[in-house]
Symmetry: none
Subunit: 193 residues, 2 copies
DNA sequence: AACTATCAATAATG
DNA sequence: CATTATTGATAGTT
């Protein structure tokens, strides 16, 4: 859009037969990128793109969105009001913590009404178990998710990059189509893959 | 790509001066969409796109990604191994929970010892898996999965849309460039915004 | 929900 | 990290 194919304009009719300076974007297969460097670059680019998309969706539709990303290098990248979302999420799924840690975390949380597992019986069990088992079987990662009801006003968005022992918050400004990133920690020289 | 501008091919040189059948994609401002219907459509489309992007990023770069989305209509849409990710996330930012549960969460685990979430770090993956299996086995519905040490290659992704009192699991298959969605509940006629 | 024209994301380069 | 050519996402329409 901006000075498209500049080379053509500048050197039209010259010796060079092919005005194209690059091959442009090429189609890639969706499978793990083996070359480390290329993978890092892709991760960085696409994570940016993903967060941008999330920001736009949030603004356009007034939705609350949170994204947590763990890169292989044990870095966490998060988008959105993650803490708030997680809180809401956990509030509705306190059992997770209980069964997981064997503690009494959720004691008294659910108060009246049926417990989560009793409610659960009504919903689709079979397919899920199947999928779950398959996931386990393959010893991969797979996951899960939850239900609940939640509302709130979605206006501000926030983005944070969190390192294992070092929190490096990043503020996202959504202005038209350009997002600027400000890293308060100033971890320069390393994109943070 | 697929039969581009079919109208031209079929009716080239006909009476119609303008072969264009639609205005195509138009640029929109990133601000809350007021018209409800349009907002819902956009939410649905873009959420799909967002999850697809996340799936691709996950596969391409071997990253763990979780997305939680709260729509205004109190529905939650989640992507990825959310629970696992949240757990990991909480390990890094345990303080978060204290305020949320009024400090009572750690009851029975408090004192000078490590908090429950801190203890979790020491948990052996295999044990956790066992807990998982038991929980799911007996109680069905509640989700999730475990990855051993957060490593391994991520190929399969899963996506679920959860409605209050009705779980409508959706399986995502990431194949080349086409993602197919299978809704086991068959909640036809309503996209689930 | 399916289609199409257009805009936006990004793989390969510089 | 800036550019650019290309693929991919999607706004408007049916």
């Amino acid at each position: 859009m901006q000075t498209p194919n500049l080379a053509v304009k500048q050197r039209n009719g010259r010796k060079q037969q092919n005005p194209k300076t690059t091959k442009g974007r090429q189609r890639i297969e969706i499978k793990e990128i083996q070359e480390e460097n290329r993978r890092q670059v892709t991760f960085s680019k696409r994570r940016t793109g993903l967060f941008k998309k999330a920001a736009e969706l949030s603004v356009l539709c007034g939705a609350q969105i949170g994204i947590i990303t763990f890169s292989r290098c044990e870095r966490i990248y998060a988008f959105g009001n993650v803490n708030t979302l997680i809180e809401s999420y956990l509030r509705k799924t306190p059992v997770m913590l209980r069964s997981y840690y064997g503690g009494d975390v959720a004691t008294g949380v659910d108060g009246d009404g049926p417990m989560w597992w009793e409610r659960a019986v009504e919903s689709v069990p079979e397919e899920e178990m199947d999928e779950y088992m398959k996931g386990l079987n393959g010893l991969r990662e797979n996951l899960w998710t939850r239900i609940c009801e939640m509302s709130g006003d979605p206006t501000a968005q926030m983005n944070a990059q969190i390192c294992p022992d070092l929190m490096a918050p990043v503020n996202w400004k959504l202005m038209d189509e350009n997002l600027t990133v400000k890293n308060d920690q100033g971890q320069a020289g390393y994109d943070g893959y």
